[in-house]
């Protein structure tokens, strides 16, 4: 850690991981209801579990983005954070708003639009906190060195804030409501968040592989270009069946197919830099995350997204468990693994110890990642069966669901495995530091001179 104020990131990571834990727990509750429908039915209805699960994810990822930005900005801008106190204050506001929303949900206090359920005043607090964050980091950037990494990152964050404002617009006409609702939801996760993802990944690769910045930053611009060229018009794959004109079907079938390209480019990018690199960075676990994140994102967001994005396929699969399968692996690969990778990279430095508990961290990686893949497979099978029975044969929804029980039980099992993996990972982050170096060094050494 070269700059003192990078330590601002630590409380962000701690809060993010606390919320991540809760997210997994609420996911387990919801998965249990799918397997045993009467579970907690009178105490906590399913919709409360689900809103808690999804909102915790969004909030902890945002806090993770903030922490990551505070961590890398001093190194990239080559100056200390503009105001560490402002950072702590905005974290406190954000965490308070998130916690208040979560507690409120348990008592039925919300605005009731999917993912944007936060009560109005919580939305206002989130906006204020995020603007404080943007001010703090932008001031640091303005006075410091401007690199492609920190410029693309800040662009992604600013645009995320701009599109967030559509969350305040709730027209009476349901079709129009949905039209702009996607301006938040899609333009975040399949648009500007990809800018954040690519730049954070680029940062990790610069630090760990030692490949020339010029090369990495050129790749970065190509990737984020592909992301927005495809992702903006790709929004239309959500406009097929909500009362929008039919032209979205051909146009967005093409552009959302192209949405696979930036994810594929990120895989090629990460692995090419890994092989080209000459630096033998001691944090092997972080390298594993930096390679795993684009790989799983490519499958979860890219392949699983493409699977049901063509309009004539989506006509049958829309709103089935196929969507749930895609949603889980896409979020996990693209954003969860990204933040976990940054934390894996940053924690030893924030705690001022050598890379430690690496083997445990990597076990966490494999357990959690394979469990998420298994969960995705079970939901995909459930979705395919559901599509056929319900959309082709026209069988009643509840009858179809009773045919899917086995898949839901297996999904619950994979959820438990995710929880185990998450536990290992959290222990490797925050537990007592014990220096662990993976055995068999050379295969893990990046660079042409190795192996």
């Amino acid at each position: 850690m070269k700059y003192e104020t990078q330590k601002v990131a630590l409380p962000f990571f701690m809060v993010a991981m606390a919320l991540f834990t809760l997210q997994v727990l609420f996911g387990l509750l919801a998965a249990t209801v799918y397997a045993w429908p009467n579970f907690m039915a009178e105490i906590m209805p399913f919709n409360i579990m689900r809103v808690s699960h999804t909102n915790l994810l969004i909030v902890w990822l945002l806090i993770g983005f903030m922490g990551s930005t505070y961590y890398l900005m001093p190194e990239e801008a080559e100056r200390e954070i503009h105001s560490p106190n402002l950072a702590y204050l905005q974290l406190a506001i954000f965490a308070f708003a998130g916690a208040a929303a979560l507690v409120g949900y348990q008592f039925g206090i919300h605005e009731g639009r999917e993912f944007l359920e936060q009560p109005f005043w919580v939305k206002v607090l989130i906006t204020i906190s995020f603007l404080m964050f943007l001010f703090n980091t932008s001031m640091t950037l303005l006075k410091g060195r401007k690199t492609a990494i920190n410029l693309v990152l800040m662009l992604g964050l600013w645009l995320a804030a701009v599109f967030w404002l559509f969350a305040f617009y709730n027209p009476t006409n349901l079709a129009v409501d949905k039209l702009y609702w996607w301006w938040v939801v899609h333009l975040w996760v399949e648009g500007v968040w990809e800018l954040i993802m690519a730049s954070l990944l680029g940062y990790l690769l610069i630090k760990m592989t030692g490949v020339d910045r010029e090369v990495i930053e050129k790749w970065l611009y190509i990737i984020v270009g592909l992301a927005l060229f495809s992702g903006l018009l790709g929004t239309g794959h959500h406009y097929y069946w909500i009362g929008a004109p039919s032209y979205w079907q051909p146009i967005s079938s093409v552009f959302s197919t192209l949405e696979v390209a930036p994810f594929f480019a990120m895989v090629v990018f990460a692995f090419t830099m890994f092989w080209k690199g000459s630096r033998n960075h001691p944090n092997k676990a972080a390298m594993l995350w930096a390679l795993g994140c684009p790989t799983i994102a490519f499958f979860g967001a890219g392949v699983w997204g493409f699977m049901h994005t063509l309009s004539f396929v989506n006509y049958y699969t829309h709103g089935t468990q196929v969507t749930a399968a895609h949603g889980h692996l896409a979020f996990y690969g693209a954003y969860v693994m990204l933040i976990l990778g940054i934390i894996t990279f940053a924690m030893p430095q924030l705690r001022r110890v050598q890379p430690y508990n690496q083997v445990l961290n990597m076990w966490g990686f494999w357990v959690m990642t394979s469990a998420m893949c298994f969960m995705t497979f079970t939901l995909t099978f459930a979705g395919v069966v559901q599509t056929h029975l319900q959309r082709v044969l026209g069988m009643n929804f509840m009858e179809v669901q009773s045919q899917l029980e086995l898949f839901y039980i297996m999904r619950l099992g994979s959820g438990l495995a995710v929880a185990v993996g998450a536990g290992m990972l959290l222990y490797s982050f925050f537990g007592p530091a014990r220096e662990q170096v993976p055995a068999g060094g050379t295969q893990m050494t990046s660079g042409a001179g190795s192996a």
């Binding site: 209801v33 799918y34 429908p37 009467n38 039915a41 009178e42 209805p45 399913f46 919709n47 409360i48 689900r50 809103v51 039925g108 919300h110 009731g112 639009r113 999917e114 492609a148 006409n173 349901l174 079709a175 129009v176 949905k178 039209l179 010029e214 930053e217 050129k218 790749w219 611009y221 190509i222 270009g225 927005l228 060229f229 903006l232 018009l233 929004t235 239309g236 097929y240 069946w241 909500i242 009362g243 929008a244 004109p245 039919s246 979205w248 006509y315 049958y316 829309h318 709103g319 089935t320 468990q321 749930a324 319900q390 959309r391 082709v392 026209g394 009643n396 929804f397 509840m398 669901q401």
Partner: protein, 150 residues
């Protein structure tokens, strides 16, 4: 990849191209908005009662169990076409009574069956909610879903 491409060229392509696609997307969204208001939805029929119904829909967070036009949770049946499923196109009064009775019968407390919570809607709220579901069923959504089963 692209060895002939310089970093600044890549940057310019990114900014220029993104702006182009953003403007195109904005124009298409504006046209879609106009199309929705004038063609695919019944703006005339968007009464105060439908508005109240949408409010009831949101206030009770129905979206986190049900889907509407395929969006939401996939825990409970699709409701964008529930009006059709209850035979509303042929016999609106019977559909109305059927949906009303179903909601009022909750919670069913059947062992091994997903349970919907009970809601204490006033008559006005219930009428609004059903009006909202009927209005939503009338949206021209390219004949989705493929089957009335939802």
């Amino acid at each position: 990849m692209a060895d002939g491409l310089t970093k600044s060229a890549a940057r310019n392509i990114f900014y220029g191209g993104s702006l182009f696609f953003f403007l195109l997307f904005t124009a298409m969204t504006a046209h879609t908005h106009w199309y929705m208001v004038t063609t695919s939805t019944d703006s005339e029929g968007l009464t105060e009662s439908v508005e109240l119904g949408k409010h009831v829909w949101e206030e009770n967070m129905c979206i986190n169990c049900h889907s509407i036009m395929g969006e939401g949770a996939y825990f409970a049946p699709e409701l964008g076409n529930v009006w059709e499923r209850y035979g509303g196109h042929e016999n609106p009064e019977a559909a109305r009574a059927g949906i009303d009775a179903w909601i009022r019968a909750q919670p069913l407390r059947i062992e091994g069956r997903r349970q919907m919570p009970g809601y204490d809607f006033t008559d006005e709220e219930m009428t609004g909610l059903i009006d909202f579901l009927e209005w939503t069923d009338g949206i021209d959504d390219q004949d989705w879903p493929p089957h009335p089963a939802g």
